[in-house]
């Protein structure tokens, strides 16, 4: 009885491992056959002058994060909170993000020292 159960267990593990291997082989096959498509996409991106890969289509600043600025998410009213669904999935890119939320205990640098 016990040997049958362990046999079934190992058969299941072997089946899953085989499926995993097949998935990997399939991915490799697709990857090699997609080279032509990638090249076409690259050519298209160069022709249209794309800036970003578009992951979200709702807000301008998450659609093109490299072209986003510090003001466009808040244009509805003065001090509006950013409110597009993709806003929390695609955070501001590093070149925009202020450091202040990461080290609030510093109290922020003195504005006078940063300017002429």
């Amino acid at each position: 009885m016990r040997s049958t159960r362990s046999g079934a267990f190992f058969a299941l593990v072997a089946l899953l491992a085989a499926l995993g291997l097949l998935a990997g082989l399939d991915a490799a096959r697709r990857q090699s056959s997609a080279a032509a498509r990638f090249a076409a996409n690259r050519a298209l991106a160069r022709w249209v002058v794309f800036t970003d890969l578009c992951f979200f289509t709702d807000a301008r600043y998450t659609r093109h994060p490299s072209l986003a600025d510090r003001h466009s998410p808040f244009q509805d009213s003065p001090l509006a909170l950013e409110h597009f669904p993709s806003g929390s999935l695609a955070p501001p890119p590093a070149h925009l993000a202020g450091t202040s939320w990461r080290r609030p205990e510093d109290g922020g640098p003195d504005s006078r020292s940063g300017q002429p």
Partner: protein, 378 residues
């Protein structure tokens, strides 16, 4: 005293003894359980606090804001458009509003430059939110330097602290005169950021907005009540996403609670056996274990929820806050006022206390219905 009440009191006295006998284990359970409640409660408290922050900030906003779109982006509105807006039936008053964001080059923070309606500020004079001044250690009468759009530095004399209604306003608002505003932003004379209308009858808002959209095809009317609704739903959506991400620790805890409760320790089994042998009914034993579970869950619930509210007062904002804020982290750091409604407390209570009760009472019932002699022997 009735017999029923006396029975409950005696069982409660026994619960107190039993909990203190195994205090190490119970403390560990309350600690882990409290941590799970704290994580969930933080999301709930912060969501409610931010929604309240947004609703309070919009409370003073005009009923309709009209923005001009140019090339698909927010464009400047001609001040001359005010007359046409004021003539629409149902509009009480219309005015042009001047406001703009300003990036502090030193910190990268987004601040708000606004021209107050009363227009009492002189040129090169400014008032700012308490936190704006506090972060820069500028006293009243001190000088705040802002960069103009041409790259020069413009010194402004701080004549007072601006009146603010929310934490974000206190952290980001700078009031200036119209001349200074135009000098800082480069906005030409005759143009404003947007036009705002006050409307007395709420039922006319949609009609007026439609009239504006028809008369000015490049205008975008924003109704305040719709903004409030958007905020409420977006923060609920975001908290849902975060809670979904937190499901793994919550499930791990439920597994832990189930494992702890389902596999009653041999000591607990023996205790149940002895209690039954000395004459306790199955119902008494289940009541005993239920009281124990209620005591543990209530302690963890109060601990977790209390910590979540208290965490908002700590110098470092809770780690979840930036995830809820999204791009609003481009503003200077601000701490929303903690808010928690009865609805949120009840949701949290049913989400965390009931599964634990169920996980504890079921195995007890199984153990309590077995023959005491058998339980004590094994």
């Amino acid at each position: 005293m009735t017999t029923g009440l006396r029975r409950h009191l005696r069982i409660l006295a026994y619960v107190a003894g039993s909990l203190s006998r195994r205090w190490r284990k119970n403390l560990a359970v309350v600690g882990v359980y409290g941590l799970v409640v704290f994580t969930l409660a933080s999301v709930v408290v912060l969501t409610q606090s931010l929604t309240q922050e947004a609703v309070v900030a919009l409370g003073a906003a005009p009923e309709i804001m009209v923005q001009r779109l140019s090339a698909g982006r927010h464009g400047l509105s001609p001040v001359g458009g005010v007359g046409a807006m004021a003539r629409i039936v149902g509009v009480q008053a219309a005015r042009a509003r001047l406001w703009a964001y300003h990036t502090d080059p030193a910190t990268g923070e987004t601040l708000l430059l606004a021209v107050p309606e009363d227009g009492r500020l002189r040129e090169h004079e400014a008032t700012a939110g308490r936190d704006v001044l506090g972060r820069r250690a500028i006293p009243i009468g001190g000088t705040l330097r802002l960069g103009t759009h041409e790259g020069d530095s413009l010194p402004l004399t701080i004549s007072g602290v601006a009146e603010t209604a929310t934490a974000l306003e206190s952290a980001a608002l700078i009031n200036v005169s119209e001349a200074t505003f135009r000098q800082l932003t480069g906005m030409p004379e005759g143009w404003a950021t947007d036009l705002v209308l006050s409307v007395r009858n709420r039922r006319e808002l949609l009609t007026i907005a439609n009239k504006i959209a028809q008369a000015l095809p490049d205008a975008r009317p924003v109704i305040r009540d719709e903004l409030v609704r958007t905020y409420t739903s977006v923060f609920n959506w975001r908290s849902g996403v975060i809670i979904a991400a937190l499901l793994v620790p919550v499930l791990a805890f439920i597994l832990f609670a189930w494992d702890k409760a389902a596999g009653l320790s041999p000591d607990e089994r023996r205790e149940i056996g002895i209690l039954k042998a000395v004459g306790w009914e199955t119902a008494d034993v289940i009541l005993l274990k239920s009281y124990e579970a209620v005591a543990v869950s209530l302690a963890a619930f109060v601990l977790g929820t209390g910590l979540a509210v208290a965490a908002l007062a700590l110098p470092r904002p809770p780690a979840i806050l930036p995830a809820l804020l999204g791009w609003s982290t481009l503003y200077p750091p601000f701490r929303p006022v903690a808010a928690l409604g009865a609805y949120q407390v009840a949701t949290l209570f049913f989400l965390v206390v009931f599964p634990y009760l169920a996980a504890t009472v079921l195995p007890t019932w199984r153990a309590a219905t077995v023959d005491p002699d058998l339980v004590m022997r094994t």
